[in-house]
């Protein structure tokens, strides 16, 4: 008798708790999330639509977005309002382009996975120079790129180390990766330090130039497969979960505050997204590889 009485009480309490949690969840994940879809970078036909986009580069001065189309072997440019501008490829096409950056000289640097190179493209002289990098006898495998203060940084996929290059693509420094089980998959440069995302550990590492871990942020087990991250001006983190198709927002101290979007193929859904970045105008850009588009959200 006592057991059944306890069970009944427990059921009522559980019901009330579930209702409270449901309301709380609606508040936390729905009402609080401030992002609204703004525009999509995708053309009207195959020529202006990326097949499998893997990266985004934004040129603030020219107010242009550049989308790296890995399957199409080309770069596509769009204006600030999402209007398609043009497609660019070298003669014979870029060989599995993966990421790109623009140097202060105006030259483009593209990671060509098919050549395992950093390829420098001088748009004025039309000279294309693929460069396979070797450091201290080890071949390097360039992955993601970033520029900061006239320096180019790239992630070495095989080690997770981050290399700093000058505009001639000569190596000037190396930031060793912390010990991780499945690699560093994304990074952001901040002054003399770097934030790096450890996928297996589901952890963000704040690294000094020497590689010393200054601090860490645990993303928690609710993130399935973190693939990319970015930060806003307030220092909040936005982590892109490739498998769940969601963006999870954390405070600068690492407290999860909300998550938004979800897995799918309609608008405001993500299907195996690959990169998340802020554009210079404070908009959140998500490179959605599986949906062949870049979605841009504004507050």
């Amino acid at each position: 008798m006592r057991i059944l009485q306890t069970r009944a009480r427990r059921s009522v309490a559980a019901g009330a708790l579930s209702l409270a949690m449901l309301l709380a969840a609606g508040h936390a994940f729905g009402a609080k999330q401030p992002w609204k879809w703004s525009l999509t970078l995708r053309g009207n036909d195959a020529a202006s639509t990326p097949q499998l986009p893997t990266a985004l580069h934004v040129d603030e001065a020219k107010a242009k977005y550049y989308v790296v189309d890995s399957a199409g072997g080309r770069l596509l440019s769009y204006d600030k309002n999402g209007q398609f501008q043009q497609a660019f490829a070298t003669e014979g096409g870029l060989d599995k382009p993966y990421d790109m950056a623009r140097l202060t000289s105006g030259a483009l640097v593209v990671v060509e996975k098919g050549k395992n190179s950093l390829t420098r493209i001088d748009l004025k002289t039309k000279v294309v120079e693929p460069k396979v990098l070797v450091h201290e006898g080890r071949q390097l495998y360039p992955d993601r790129l970033e520029t900061a203060e006239a320096k180019l940084y790239f992630l070495d996929k095989a080690t997770g180390d981050i290399y700093r290059l000058n505009e001639q693509l000569a190596i000037e420094g190396r930031i060793p990766a912390p010990p991780v089980s499945r690699g560093i998959v994304d990074f952001r440069v901040e002054g003399n330090t770097v934030w790096a995302l450890g996928q297996g550990e589901k952890r963000l590492y704040h690294l000094a130039d020497s590689g010393k871990v200054l601090s860490q942020i645990e993303l928690g087990s609710s993130v399935l497969f973190p693939v990319s991250f970015t930060r806003d001006e307030s220092g909040n983190f936005y982590v892109l979960d490739r498998h769940a198709g969601v963006v999870v927002a954390y405070t600068a101290q690492g407290k999860e505050v909300y998550r938004f979007l979800g897995k799918g193929q309609t608008q405001e859904r993500l299907y195996y997204p690959h990169e998340i970045r802020f554009d210079p105008w404070g908009r959140l850009c998500i490179v959605d590889e599986g949906n062949s588009r870049v979605d841009i959200y504004s507050r």
Partner: protein, 386 residues
């Protein structure tokens, strides 16, 4: 508000009405001898049948108060928390405690349904082999000497990492006498030794890497570092690894040895473990999604049936586009189905329609592992005028 209170009272009274019968009256009909054994479950020993069963009416088979593990976790609350961590053994994940444990009594320790090895091999059929040379715990059927039965840190549910586990018994210096010239710190035992058994002395795995057969210097001492050493022979793999998506992963050294043993293995692919275990060790969320899905693609033996193991330019490392991969088996659907191919465009994405536009073979909760309900929800995403 008042009517809600009345309903609540009626529900509670109905529950009170179903008061449990005690063991003495249960045994009037149920043979008491069937509830005896070397190990007897606590409530049975106390004659508290009502702890798990309702004597009058219940929603669940066997007049159980709750279904599956939920019933067990009512008392074993600590286990509910503990068994949710890390990689979880399939029966635990599915809440099937009784797949291994007898709920009343057993002749075995820990209320196991059968002797330990017999129980494990009833699911892990391929693991029961009559090896010429056998590891002592394996020969004695002591699976839990090395494996956790409920959950663990890795896909093989090892109690500790491989080296630490081996060192627990094999710490004597003579163990290492056969490893003279071993480069670096002694370790990675399982890359060469099969912890269950082998036809070779020293439990060396069956397949030997060709350079290893030639001697250590075929690889060690060469002026090539990391994966570049492997690529110097495996040119085709190198080409695959030079893809937008690849498994060129960080291991603290050579990426290839994250999955492959450079010395000895059980199969020609030189994988360190069964393929699904290797993949699942990193892609645990995908494996769990598959395991929990109501509908998934049946009969797929290995991940590499559909996915490139090294690298691919395609989404999720597919071996080809959705049609090409699926129509290798689904020949009819490859010729006659919903229109597919480069001329049929998915208006949501601008991509050409293929099998994977609608199906997710890794598993969903919809029939035919459709991404959404095939009755309407999926179709109207494109066919909006319907």
């Amino acid at each position: 508000m008042r009517s809600l209170r009345v309903i609540l009272i009626l529900v509670v009274l109905a529950w009170w009405g179903a008061a449990p019968a005690m063991a003495s009256s249960c045994y009037d009909c149920h043979d008491r001898n069937k509830f005896k054994g070397n190990a007897v479950h606590g409530p049975v020993a106390k004659g508290d049948c009502g702890k798990c069963h309702n004597p009058h009416v219940a929603k669940y088979k066997g007049l159980l108060q709750e279904e599956g593990a939920e019933l067990c976790y009512d008392c074993h609350a600590k286990e509910r928390r503990e068994y949710a961590k890390g990689m979880v053994h399939q029966p635990v994940l599915r809440g099937q405690c009784v797949a291994c444990h007898a709920p009343h009594a057993s002749a075995q320790r820990n209320l196991l349904q059968k002797p330990l090895a017999k129980l494990c091999f009833s699911c892990h059929e391929g693991m029961q082999q009559n090896h010429k040379v056998m590891h002592a715990p394996y020969a004695k059927g002591e699976c839990t000497a090395c494996h956790e039965p409920h959950n663990g840190d890795d896909a093989q549910l090892l109690k500790k990492n491989g080296d630490a586990l081996c060192a627990g018994c094999h710490a004597k210096p003579e163990t290492f006498a056969g490893h003279k010239g071993f480069p670096g710190k002694m370790g990675a035992c399982l890359t060469c030794h099969n912890p269950h058994g082998s036809s070779r002395a020293g439990l060396i795995r069956e397949k030997l890497h060709a350079p290893y057969q030639q001697g250590c210097t075929a690889c060690h001492g060469k002026n090539l570092a990391d994966s570049a050493l492997c690529f110097s022979c495996h040119e085709a793999v190198k080409k695959q690894m030079f893809s937008p998506h690849s498994h060129l992963v960080v291991t603290g050294g050579n990426s290839c040895i994250a999955c492959h043993s450079p010395h000895a293995a059980d199969t020609g692919k030189m994988l360190k473990a069964k393929e699904s275990l290797m993949c699942g060790s990193c892609h645990a969320d995908t494996m769990q999604r598959r395991n929990k899905s109501l509908h998934k693609h049946p009969m797929v033996s290995q991940c590499s049936d559909c996915h490139e193991a090294h690298g691919s330019s395609r989404l999720v490392l597919m071996k080809g586009d959705g049609n090409a991969v699926c129509s290798r088996c689904h020949e009819t659907q490859g010729k006659f189905s919903h229109p597919v191919g480069p001329k049929v465009i998915d208006r949501r994405t601008g991509q050409s329609v293929n099998c994977l536009t609608c199906h997710d073979p890794m598993g969903t909760d919809f029939r035919y592992h459709l991404k959404q309900s095939g009755k309407k929800d999926l179709c109207v995403q494109c066919h909006r005028s319907y």
